[in-house]
């Protein structure tokens, strides 16, 4: 399914917050139907990279460089246009579904509101599509789940719901920021398999941000390693994880118990 067609192209991305350089010129490109893993320690700037794509950087942050999506530069897009891209063409799944879903709004509402906004669906169409999506992310009893609230689901189920919400408007790019970190080990594999399957089935370009190289080796096609706001190494998964060329990648791999090849 992988065609190697570039969907999102980040070049020379720099982000400063309060005079401090958080990102110092990041280059990344995401291909259709490919999962691109972004690894690195906490503070290396991987999450900032993900947030910068959606223009969700914290208050007072300044971003320069270029984030190209379908011939447009997301960094210079007017707010209105950017809002159409958010959720519509680029969607995001956050780390902890316990906090990223609104606790007081029903699953159905959180699934349909951006569909109705972006795709101009009416209530019934949106509902039908929402139920279909819930089935696609394997929520048992999708019809019933539609009217329930996040607290009535387990952590793994909530993250599936968050993924369904992200996919609702058929985006081309999905940014998943540590999507399994907050979940029990037993359900992590299921969520990862789901992501991989959706990527293949829908031709999504996925940016998988994680510090967990185990997660990375399970589903990523490409791997980039970040350190101190720079991408120090990029390449196919097998190459980067087996024959790391950069000393930092080696040290990351060495720190894994029993994971080193």
């Amino acid at each position: 399914m992988s065609t190697g067609k570039t969907t999102l192209d980040i070049t020379g991305l720099k982000v400063t917050i309060g005079g401090r350089e958080i990102l110092r010129g990041v280059d990344l490109s995401l291909q259709e139907g490919r999962v691109h893993g972004l690894a690195g320690e906490s503070g290396s700037g991987k999450t900032m990279t993900g947030l910068a794509v959606l223009g969700l950087l914290p208050h007072g942050a300044r971003a320069t460089g270029r984030i190209a999506l379908g011939g447009r530069d997301l960094l210079t897009l007017p707010p209105r246009e950017l809002n159409k891209v958010r959720g519509g063409e680029v969607a995001m799944v956050f780390q902890d579904p316990a906090t990223s879903l609104h606790p007081m709004l029903s699953v159905g509402r959180q699934l349909t509101e951006h569909m109705r906004h972006h795709l101009k669906l009416d209530k019934r169409e949106a509902r039908a599509r929402a139920v279909e999506l819930l089935g696609k992310v394997r929520i048992p009893g999708a019809e019933e789940a539609y009217g329930r609230f996040p607290h009535q689901f387990s952590g793994g189920m909530r993250q599936r719901i968050a993924i369904a919400i992200a996919l609702a408007c058929s985006p081309r790019v999905l940014i998943a920021d540590e999507p399994t970190t907050a979940l029990d080990v037993t359900v992590q594999a299921g969520v990862l398999r789901l992501l991989r399957g959706l990527c293949d089935e829908l031709g999504l370009a996925v940016l998988l941000v994680t510090h967990d190289l185990g997660v990375m080796s399970a589903i990523a096609d490409e791997v980039s390693v970040m350190k101190d706001g720079l991408v120090v190494e990029t390449g196919p998964r097998g190459k980067v994880l087996r024959e790391p060329s950069h000393a930092y990648t080696r040290s990351l791999l060495d720190s894994l118990p029993g994971e080193t090849a």
Partner: protein, 362 residues
Amino acid sequence: MSAMTSAKESADAAPRVRSRRGVHPLARFLFRRILTAVLLAWGITLVTFVLTNLVPGDPVTANLGQRALGDPAIVAQWRAEHGLDKPLWEQYVLHLRGVVQGDFGVSQQSHRPVAEDLAQFVPATLELAGAAIAVSLVLGVAFGVVAALRRDRLPDHVLRVLSLIGISVPTFWLALVAFYVFFYRLQITPGSGRVDPAIGEAPAVTGLQTVDALIAGRWDVFVSAVGHLITPALVLALYTIGLLTRFTRSAVLEVLGQDYVRAARAKGLPGRVILFRYVLRSALVPVITVAGLAFGSLLSGTVLVEAIFAWPGIGQYAYKSATTLDLPAVMGVGLVVGVVYLVINLIVDVLYGVIDPRVRLQ
């Protein structure tokens, strides 16, 4: 709007969350709350009774003149008349039995049943306090949201100083100043009372002058009643506006930092949808709690404000009965005020349930 959509949602969810016994969780939730409220109401009768009986002041000296006090027969007769010769516990049992039947005893001052007095004065105060809390909620929440969205910029600083002034002004003094400036000097507001005496009151149905005027179709009475209501209500509201502004600001700021707000922005929803549906919904929970408590401070304020504006409400009645140690009246006021508090708490609890499904679907 949010209440309606939420009711809709709860209807959607309802069939699936019925408990085994088939009682709707919202009904059980309400039942529990009401039971607690009844217990507290009983506690209040006990407290008002103890408070008004175990204190050194003697109602006899407060009510009878010097001459009558010199005559033991008159004093004894007066005590018997008001049931003060019986042992305390018996007085309490009698009092409680009366209260349950809606009989609060006879006021020693007005010589009318306390229940009658209360029925006359309570609606006036509720109208005043209700108008004040409505104004406070609208302005306080609006100011608080603006301050939070413009955090650390000019509007935030200005609103901070203004709201601190609002909670620092002595209500009784502000009432006097407002009366002097707007009525006496500028003559742009009507004076004391609830309606212009030349127009006359609408026939009492609810006791709320504005509502009664509308029921009677008396537009002139309505205009006059609203005109009389504005100044005291605003004076009363200033403190709660300040309070709610500060609270809403911090509540909104806290919610703005939540993951689900960032997630909503990542979905590309328009700013106004995020503000009203995502941010305000969560921020309103603490704000409602404070508003409930603020209603109590409004009732406190009525004691001070009603005196200046000659507003015939429970505040003035409470003041008169407290200073003359009119025990049945004081107990009646205490009970009514306590019950109003409980009802407000109940409303707050129910609003929690409406806003937050986690409360409703326990």
